[in-house]
C-alpha cells in the first residue's frame, strides 16, 4: 500500500488534473526535490517559492482571490508562526467583507514529533490553528484518509489547513487508495523520483479515482464500551494499539479518529461518551491552552452529569521545546506506554 506521502502526492495529482489546482508551491516543493517529505514529487504544477513563509501564505490568499485554488506548503509547521496574522486574515476575509470574498485555498504543513526533529522540526499546530476562526482544519492518520481529505480540501470554498503528521508520512496504509496498483514496489517505480539526476524523470500516474473523506466527519477505529478515546494524527495509531493491548486485559476502549479538528464531529464524540461515561483526549501539542482542553470543556458543559469520571487530557508537556536527545523527546510528548497507562487508570477510576 501507499504511504501517506505518496497518498498526498496522488491526491494532489488528482486535484491538478480534475479539481482546478494550478499552484502547488512552497520551499523546495517543486523539482528537483519535490518536498522534504517527497509529497509533491512529479506534480506538473509544483514549483519552488522564495524562502519566505509570509510570501507563501500572502500569495495563497491572493491566488485564492483570483479563484486559483492554490495548495501552499509551509515546509514545517515550526516555521508557520510568523504568518499567524495572515492566517487570521485568510479566516476573516469572507466575514469582514460581509460575504463578498471567499478564499478557496489549502495550506499543508507537516506537524508533530517522531523524527528526532529537535526544537524546530517537532512543533504541533492544532492548538494554534483551532483558535483561528474561519478555517477548516483536517489531520489524517492514515494514507487513505489523507487522500480523501485532500480531495475534499481541494473542493472547498474556504481556507483549509491540512496538517500532516510527520511521523506517519512514511508509514504504509492498510487500505488501498482507489486506483492504486496492488504492488507497492510497482507504485514506487511509477511515482517515486529516482535518486541522482532527475531532470529527465517523469512519473507514471496510476489511474486514480475520486474518493472523499467529508470534512467534519470523525471515525470510530475501535469499538468499545468502557472508555472513549478521542485522538488524531501521530497519537491515533498509538491509541488504537493501546486499546488492542487493553482489550486482551479486559478493558474495552472505543477509539475515535477525529480527522477534522474544525468543524469537528461532536455528535460522534458525544454519542460515545454517553455510552462509556469516561473519556480521554490525546494529542501532542503542549498542554496549556490546548485544543483537547476545549473538548474537555465541551464535555463537561454538555455531559457533566453523565460522566463516571473526570474527562482527561494527555498531551505534550508545557516546555519550550522538544529536545533532540531520545530521552528528552520521549519525556515531552505522549508515547504508547503513557497512553496505555492513562487509559488503564481512567477505565478503573473510582471516586
Amino acid at each position: 500500500m501507499a504511504n501517506m506521502a505518496q497518498a498526498i502526492r496522488m491526491a494532489l495529482h488528482y486535484a491538478e488534473e480534475n479539481l482546478g489546482v494550478m499552484d502547488i508551491y512552497g520551499e523546495d516543493v517543486g523539482p528537483p526535490l519535490g518536498g522534504v517529505f517527497t509529497a509533491t514529487q512529479g506534480l506538473k504544477t509544483a514549483w519552488n517559492s522564495p524562502l519566505d513563509e509570509r510570501g507563501i501564505i500572502g500569495t495563497a490568499i491572493g491566488l485564492a482571490m483570483a479563484g486559483q485554488r492554490p495548495v501552499a506548503e509551509i515546509q514545517f509547521a515550526d516555521y508557520i508562526f510568523n504568518t499567524i496574522d495572515l492566517l487570521k486574515i485568510a479566516g476573516n476575509t469572507l466575514w469582514s467583507s460581509n460575504g463578498d470574498w471567499n478564499l478557496p485555498m489549502v495550506v499543508k504543513t507537516p506537524v508533530g514529533s517522531g523524527i528526532r526533529g529537535s526544537l524546530y522540526h517537532s512543533h504541533s499546530f492544532d492548538a494554534t490553528a483551532t483558535h483561528i476562526p474561519g478555517w477548516k482544519i483536517v489531520i489524517p492518520s492514515n494514507p487513505l484518509d489523507a487522500y480523501g481529505l485532500m480531495l475534499a480540501a481541494c473542493q472547498e470554498l474556504n481556507p483549509v489547513m491540512f496538517l500532516e503528521p510527520k511521523a506517519l508520512l512514511r508509514v504504509k496504509g492498510e487500505e488501498r487508495i482507489p486506483g492504486e496498483p496492488d504492488d507497492d514496489k510497482q507504485l514506487s517505480k511509477m511515482i517515486d523520483a529516482p535518486l541522482g539526476d532527475r531532470s529527465a524523470w517523469k512519473p507514471q500516474w496510476p489511474s486514480l479515482e475520486r474518493y472523499e473523506v467529508p470534512i467534519g466527519k470523525g471515525k470510530v477505529v475501535r469499538e468499545g464500551t468502557q472508555v472513549t478515546v478521542v485522538s488524531y494524527g501521530r497519537t491515533l495509531p498509538l491509541c488504537a494499539k493501546a486499546a488492542d493491548t487493553l482489550r486482551e486485559q479486559g478493558v474495552s476502549a472505543e477509539i475515535i479518529d477525529l480527522r477534522t479538528l474544525w468543524p469537528y464531529d461532536w455528535e460522534l464524540i458525544k454519542g460515545s461518551i454517553e455510552k462509556t461515561g469516561r473519556v480521554l483526549f490525546v494529542n501532542e501539542d503542549t498542554e496549556v491552552t490546548n485544543f483537547g482542553e476545549h473538548l474537555v470543556r465541551r464535555t463537561v458543559d454538555e455531559l457533566f452529569y453523565k460522566l463516571l469520571a473526570p474527562p482527561r487530557l494527555l498531551a505534550g508537556k508545557f516546555v519550550p521545546g522538544i529536545g533532540l536527545a531520545d530521552s528528552l523527546e520521549m519525556a515531552s510528548v505522549p508515547q504508547l506506554n503513557d497512553i496505555t497507562e492513562a487509559l488503564r487508570k481512567l477505565a478503573s477510576e473510582e471516586p
Binding site: P50, G58, T59, A60, W95, S96, S97, N98
Partner: protein
C-alpha cells in the same frame, strides 16, 4: 449627481492629453472626493460614527489611478489591493459615495462590510477591489498572488497595490519586491507607495535610511520612480506610462508618490485641517482658474452641488438600522450554492 463617464480602454491606452475634458474630469472627481471625506469627518464629529480615516490630500494621485484602472471582475481586469485612503480611486471608478457614509455609520446597509469594519475599508469583488484590512502592509504580501494568476492568464489585466511610507518598514513590503521580481516569474504588478512623510505621529526623517523609497525597487531591478502626487496631471501621465509598461511588459513597476495628509492621521488625532501641507485641490483650482479652464463660480457651484448631495445622503443614512446581533454568525464560511 454628475457621474463621470468611466474612461474606456481605447482612451486609456491613447496618449494622455492635458485637454480640457481631462482637466475637468480630474477636478470634478477630486472635489467630489474631498467633499466626501469632509462629510465623513463631519459625521464623526457629530457622533455619527466611531472612527474616521481617509484620503484627503491624496486626491490628485488617487483619482487618476481610478480613472486609468481597467474596471471589472476577474483576471482580465485590474485588481486593487489598497489601504484606507483610497476613496478618490473608488469614486473615479464610479462608486456612489453613499456607501462610504453607510460604512462610517456602520449600518446594516454598508455595502463593504455590513457595519463590521471602519470607514475607508472598501471591498467590491465586482470590480476586483480587495477588502481593505487594517493591518498595515499585509496587502503587499497578498497582491503578488492575484498578479501571478494574471500573468498565467495572459491578457493585459494588472494588479495594483497601495500603502503608505512608514509601512514600508514591514517585511511585507520586501516580500512584495522579492516575489514580483523573481527571474522565474516577473509579475504584472504596479507597486505604489503614497508617501506623506508620516506614520501616525512619527515623522519619516528619523526612520528612513533610503534617499528615496523608490530606491528599494532599483535594488531588485524593478523600474522605479518617485513622482509629485499632489499634481493631478503629472500623476495621470506617470501612472498611465507605468500602467502601460506593466500591462504590456508584464513586469513590476514601483511608484512612490509624494502626497499630503490634510486632516492628520485619523479621527484619533482630531481630524482637523492642517494648514502647513500642500492642498492639491486648492492648487489645482488656482491653476484651472488662471488658465481659464474653469471659473471660480463654476468650481464653487460644483462643490456646493456635491455638498448638498452628500448632506442629503447623510440624512438618509442617519436613520438606517444597525446590523442585527445574530448577524455575527453570517458569512463565517461560504457555502456551495
Amino acid at each position: 449627481m454628475s457621474r463621470p463617464r468611466l474612461i474606456n480602454r481605447e482612451e486609456a491606452s491613447s496618449p494622455p492629453t492635458p485637454e480640457r475634458e481631462l482637466l475637468v474630469r480630474l477636478h470634478d472627481l477630486m472635489v467630489k472626493t474631498r467633499v466626501l471625506e469632509e462629510r465623513l469627518i463631519q459625521m464623526y464629529k457629530q457622533g455619527h460614527g466611531y472612527f474616521w480615516i481617509g484620503g484627503p490630500g491624496e486626491e490628485a494621485f488617487n483619482v487618476p489611478l481610478g480613472m486609468l484602472m481597467k474596471k471589472g471582475q476577474g483576471l482580465d481586469y485590474d485588481y486593487l489591493h489598497a489601504h484606507y485612503r483610497q476613496s478618490g480611486t473608488l469614486l473615479a471608478l464610479g462608486e456612489e459615495p453613499i456607501g462610504a457614509l453607510r460604512q462610517m455609520k456602520n449600518t446594516a446597509s454598508d455595502p463593504y462590510s455590513g457595519g463590521r469594519n471602519f470607514a475607508g475599508h472598501f471591498s467590491k469583488r465586482e470590480w476586483n477591489i480587495a477588502p481593505v484590512s487594517s493591518p498595515i502592509e499585509v496587502q503587499y504580501s497578498i497582491a503578488p498572488g492575484t498578479a501571478m494568476a494574471q500573468k498565467r492568464h495572459g491578457g493585459d489585466g494588472i494588479t495594483i497595490v497601495t500603502g503608505g511610507d512608514a509601512g514600508t518598514a514591514e517585511g511585507d513590503f520586501a516580500t512584495c519586491l522579492v516575489w514580483s521580481s523573481r527571474p522565474a516569474n516577473p509579475l504584472p504588478i504596479l507597486i505604489i507607495v503614497t508617501n506623506n512623510k508620516w506614520g501616525i505621529s512619527t515623522t519619516a526623517d528619523g526612520q528612513h535610511g533610503e534617499t528615496r523609497i523608490a530606491d528599494r525597487g532599483r535594488a531588485f531591478n524593478i523600474r522605479s520612480k518617485t513622482i509629485n502626487g499632489n499634481d493631478p496631471l503629472e500623476s495621470y501621465r506617470e501612472l498611465k506610462e507605468a500602467m502601460d509598461y506593466v500591462r504590456k511588459e508584464r513586469k513590476p513597476f514601483l511608484m512612490e508618490a509624494l502626497v499630503s495628509r490634510l486632516y492628520g492621521h485619523s479621527s484619533a488625532s482630531g481630524a482637523n485641517f492642517v494648514a502647513n501641507e500642500v492642498d492639491c485641490v486648492k492648487e489645482f483650482e488656482a491653476k484651472l482658474e488662471k488658465e481659464g479652464v474653469l471659473t471660480r463660480e463654476q468650481m464653487d457651484a460644483l462643490r456646493n452641488r456635491y455638498s448638498e448631495d452628500l448632506a442629503t445622503a447623510a440624512r438618509l443614512v442617519r436613520d438606517e438600522p444597525q446590523p442585527a446581533p445574530e448577524s455575527i454568525w453570517n458569512h463565517i464560511y461560504a457555502e456551495k450554492k
